[in-house]
């Protein structure tokens, strides 16, 4: 299957302008495949919703509610991928008491497909993370941490290809530099590899060798920095072939994805939904077998 160049051929409108013209949109649903990507990041062991008295996030969040919402969306479109961009651990006593067991068990019950690792996922050390792996029935995808000389060796994947309704979705994962952020005694011999080079390598494999239709990067690099530090925005600009970057670490609340231009001049979506499971991110891709010859699409506006 040839990869569909869907992003750059999209006709677009901002949020509500799209609705008025919905019935006049020219695409034919019968020709399209529909893939739904759901995502969270930086949930930080938030199992229960915030209470009504909370000063910042009253009555928001909660795993049980998230489970209901995910199931509702899955019933609507079984071709759904559920992803997390790291920092599953640390933030409530649930983590301090149970070491991440409950977080992994609940994510397994919600049928997460994959997660990447955030810096706080090392808070109980490599051994602490390793000990909880039996509770996780989903994949840990990490492309730029070399775990060869650690307990985690062989327990994470550099990338994974998911096939939904015949659409091949390649997912890889990028973690932040741990030195200076996490105690060395916790991450031990984990080697940090350059995220941009790794991303190029992974997206090239996923596109050329694995013939993926969609390439998603799960990132815990952080959204954007005022310094030169590598971020999701820098990653989007400096690479080719990534369609969507699902980010984390900076607890950035984007109300819609940001669109960046990659080094081949194509569009990349960058999204992040804050933290603590307050929101679920949802991105629907409609892929059309017939539109691969179309070259004059209207640019995507957000």
């Amino acid at each position: 299957m040839k990869r569909r160049n869907f992003i750059q051929q999209t006709s677009a409108a901002t949020a509500f302008i799209g609705f008025g013209g919905l019935s006049s949109l020219s695409f034919k649903p019968s020709n399209k495949k529909h893939i739904t990507i759901l995502h969270t990041n930086d949930v930080h062991s938030h199992i229960e919703p915030f209470g009504p008295e909370d000063s910042r996030n009253p009555n928001l969040g909660g795993v049980a509610r998230r489970a209901t919402l995910i199931q509702r969306i899955r019933n609507e479109n079984p071709n759904t991928l559920l992803l997390d961009a790291g920092d599953i651990f640390q933030g409530t006593p649930y983590f301090n008491f149970y070491g991440g067991e409950l977080e992994f068990k609940l994510m397994s019950k919600m049928k997460y497909d994959a997660a990447t690792l955030g810096n706080h996922d090392f808070d109980n050390g490599i051994a602490g993370l390793y000990a909880q792996l039996p509770h996780a029935e989903f994949n840990f995808i990490s492309s730029n941490y070399d775990f060869k000389n650690t307990l985690l060796d062989g327990h994470t994947q550099k990338y994974k290809v998911f096939t939904k309704d015949g659409v091949k979705i390649g997912v890889f994962g990028l973690g932040i530099e741990l030195q200076g952020l996490v105690n060395k005694s916790l991450y031990k011999e984990t080697k940090y590899l350059d995220p941009i080079e790794t991303a190029q390598e992974m997206s090239s494999i996923l596109k050329k060798e694995k013939n993926c239709d969609l390439i998603i990067c799960l990132s815990h690099l952080g959204y954007e920095y005022s310094s030169d530090k590598v971020s999701d925005i820098k990653l989007a600009q400096a690479t080719a072939d990534i369609d969507l970057i699902i980010g984390g670490h900076t607890h950035t609340f984007l109300d819609k994805p940001r669109v960046e231009i990659n080094k081949s001049g194509k569009k990349v979506l960058v999204n992040q939904v804050g933290c603590y499971g307050l929101y679920l991110g949802r991105i629907d891709f409609y892929l059309d077998d017939n539109n691969e010859n179309q070259t004059t699409g209207v640019s995507l506006e957000v």
């Binding site: 949020a15 949109l25 049980a64 489970a67 919402l69 609507e76 640390q90």
Partner: protein, 252 residues
């Protein structure tokens, strides 16, 4: 294809209903941010699964560890407060034996930050939950070996801060204009030729609250002890909290 068409329109319906989340909407890519709020009922199976964990957690968090005879607030003093003194004294008492065991050296003084006191302690039973409220962060206690020069820099910092940063092991007197008039560690004046073992949090040692005198110490000693765990262990050890506001850090 009918099922697909149906699912497509359901998507749009959901989208319209959940318009609190902003979105881009295109023929081919659509994005939205869905708030997890009260309008969504929790999945009963997930709630049942969480229940025993929650019960055990709450039971442990709420069991009494110690008794506090007098409520403590971080605002109840000028340059020292009962709650700040308590935290600094806990660090001294709990971390010193570890440093002695590892290095043979004793902690000379403790400095924390006033902003790091995250709650007060009510009169009555003190629980693990109180310790989490007081110290929700995961900071570790570290011991920085500082030159006498750096201790003088620390005093200058405190003159400018004019804040009840918690201390232990040191006595500082300032005049009404916050100029240090007398400062002693272990009852002796600060010796610029000597080095001092200062316990603090890893956050402050790494420059938090602009405590730059902690950067590049002569040596940095890890005690691998979280501040909160030190507080919990102390609460378990004592029956009644006795630490009070005193004259360790005052203006005259």
């Amino acid at each position: 294809m009918n099922t697909f068409r149906l699912s497509f329109y359901l998507t749009i319906t959901l989208f319209v209903l959940s318009c609190k989340g902003n979105s881009i909407e295109t023929a081919q890519i659509k994005a939205e941010r869905i708030p997890i709020d009260k309008s969504i009922n929790g999945d009963p199976e997930i709630e049942r699964f969480i229940a025993p964990y929650k019960k055990h957690l709450n039971k442990t968090l709420d069991s009494a560890l110690a008794y506090n005879p007098k409520s403590m607030l971080k605002s109840d003093g000028d340059l020292n407060t009962a709650i700040g003194n308590l935290m600094a004294d806990i660090v001294m008492e709990q971390a010193n034996p570890i440093l002695v065991k590892r290095t043979g050296k004793e902690i000379d003084m403790v400095l924390l930050n006033h902003g790091g006191i995250r709650s007060g302690l009510n009169q009555g039973n003190i629980t693990t939950r109180s310790a989490y409220a007081l110290m929700p962060f995961e900071n570790e206690i570290v011991v920085a070996e500082l030159s006498g020069e750096k201790i003088v820099e620390m005093l200058t910092y405190l003159e400018q801060a004019k804040t009840a940063h918690p201390v232990s092991g040191v006595r500082i007197e300032m005049d009404q204009n916050y100029k240090v008039t007398r400062a002693t560690i272990n009852g002796k004046k600060i010796d610029k030729e000597k080095t001092y073992f200062v316990a603090t949090s890893d956050y402050l040692q790494q420059g938090g609250d602009n405590m730059n005198f902690f950067k590049d110490p002569i040596a940095l000693h890890q005690v691998d002890y979280k501040l909160r765990n030190a507080i919990i262990d102390y609460f378990k050890k004592v029956d009644t909290l006795k630490v009070e506001k005193d004259d360790r850090f005052i203006r005259k």
